[in-house]
């Protein structure tokens, strides 16, 4: 039976949780890189032993760590993220031009087929790629060079490229999401990009239906249905069935449509999960009840999943990169909280158990399947 490895990034280090296919007993290792912010740890789909971690600190900047043995040992690789050419400016919070400045790597997305190729989404928003296992990084500057780039503005958490979704069979097609610019799609492996935000509505910007400027929090895709994308936006849960050409709201009967995470069941492409958060200023669950909501209809109709989750006095948040699914049957679902809990469900969300309770604030959760 396959084993499961859950990769957890936190404010003060990385943790690796492993279990057999039953997912009842877990081994916890860490902290790796204790004291450093680990925005993201990701494994290569092409080689589960190959891991990459984004390690950063306000004192010492950005590092990228690579493991070739499933996290037992790590080696720092290249950490130079230099914008291509003259970086120019984007808009600052007050609307004035602000030079593009690298702050950190938010998200690492290893290639589906090559362990040495990894995409990195960074703040200030840009997309980088390595093809040599992390030793050197080159910007795919066609994204930032889009005519709208000089108008992009940061969200409250900074102007970050936080989501990278690769088409499962068309290597040229990639989606990225930027806070607060929106979704962009390339069909030529990153040379050129087009906004993919038609149908989004954001009352927080001057033109609520503008082509660019939306605060998209997260995208998700099921590999068997790659023309369909799901989105958790600043407010609104959205769906596109035409590869981002247009979006429709599917918030339906959710108690609130604000939130950060969204993910898709491994075997049911129309079963999706979100964790509603009270509002953009109240970053905690409504009524102090931590509830995962599942839709088995691709949106609109949602059911609250509460078994095993705290249903009173719970005021944690679940950040955008902190939910993942495994591909066992039944599908496992995992998420981490700003309170340091990592919850897992081995039955597609029907029941939940805390795998660990007292980690540092969780920034990201990823899952790997092991032979």
């Amino acid at each position: 039976m396959s084993r499961v490895r859950v990769l957890v990034g936190t404010r003060k280090g990385a943790f690796v949780l492993t279990s057999d296919g039953e997912r009842q007993r877990w081994d916890v290792s860490g902290p790796h890189f204790g004291g450093w912010e680990i925005y993201h740890v990701a494994g290569s789909p092409a080689d589960p032993a190959r891991l990459y971690a984004s390690q950063s600190s306000g004192w010492f900047g950005q590092l990228i760590q690579r493991s070739d043995d499933g996290g037992a040992t790590w080696q720092p690789v290249g950490n130079e993220f230099t914008y291509d050419g003259v970086p120019g400016t984007h808009q600052w919070y007050d609307g004035t031009p602000h030079p593009w400045e690298f702050a950190r790597v938010w998200h690492l997305e290893p290639s589906l087929t090559d362990p040495d190729t990894v995409y990195a989404g960074v703040e200030d928003a840009a997309l980088f790629r390595t093809v040599d296992g992390g030793h050197s990084w080159q910007e795919l500057s066609g994204l930032r060079d889009h005519e709208s780039g000089s108008c992009w503005q940061p969200g409250a958490g900074g102007m970050c490229l936080h989501t990278i979704v690769q088409h499962p069979t068309d290597a040229g097609r990639i989606f990225v999401a930027i806070s607060a610019a929106g979704v962009f799609r390339t069909d030529d492996a990153g040379k050129t990009w087009c906004p993919a935000n038609h149908g989004l509505r954001s009352e927080q910007i001057p033109d609520p239906t503008a082509e660019v400027g939306h605060c998209v929090h997260r995208l998700a895709m099921h590999p068997s249905q790659p023309e369909t994308l799901f989105m958790q936006k600043h407010w609104d849960v959205m769906r596109s069935d035409d590869s981002g050409e247009s979006w429709q709201e599917i918030s339906g009967d959710l108690p609130t449509d604000f939130g950060f995470v969204i993910d898709v069941h491994a075997h049911e492409p129309d079963t999706i999960y979100v964790i509603p958060i009270a509002s953009d200023s109240e970053h905690y669950p409504p009524e102090g009840k931590l509830r995962v909501y599942r839709s088995r209809t691709g949106g609109h109709q949602w059911e609250a999943l509460t078994s095993g989750l705290p249903q009173h006095d719970c005021y944690v948040n679940v950040l955008r990169d902190a939910m993942a699914v495994d591909s066992l049957d039944p599908c496992g679902v995992y998420f981490g909280t700003t309170g340091g809990q990592v919850y897992g469900s081995a039955d597609a969300g029907n029941t939940w158990t805390p795998i660990v309770r007292d980690l540092p604030s969780v920034l990201s959760v990823e899952v790997q399947m092991l032979p």
């Binding site: 450093w36 600190s57 306000g58 004192w59 010492f60 900047g61 590092l63 720092p76 950490n79 130079e80």
Partner: protein, 98 residues
């Protein structure tokens, strides 16, 4: 030999237990020490100074002989006590955070 003391996180990164002893040719300056340090421990590149500008990272400080050298010119000669190894050159993570 020049003695360099690194903060704990950078010692861990460079797999060091204690001070670093460096041979620095020519005039001993902050730049020449950091160049020699990064040449021996490439994993430290970008953690003390910016890759491109070579500017000190904002929350890193340089001390020696009970003086804050953080704002001194990087090519200014360091005190002879540092150049002769009597006193260490300290790379310090600034006090920050709650």
């Amino acid at each position: 030999m020049i003695r360099v003391v690194l903060p704990a996180h950078l010692r861990t990164l460079a797999h060091l237990d204690g001070e670093v002893a460096l041979h620095v040719a020519g005039v001993v300056t902050q730049r020449s020490i950091l160049d020699a340090l990064e040449a021996r421990y490439p994993m430290l590149r970008g953690t003390i100074r910016d890759h491109a500008t070579q500017q000190r990272r904002a929350f890193v400080r340089f001390f020696a002989c009970e003086q804050d050298l953080s704002h001194e010119a990087p090519d200014a000669p360091l005190p002879s006590a540092v150049a002769t190894g009597v006193e260490p050159y300290l790379v310090v993570g600034a006090m920050a955070g709650g």
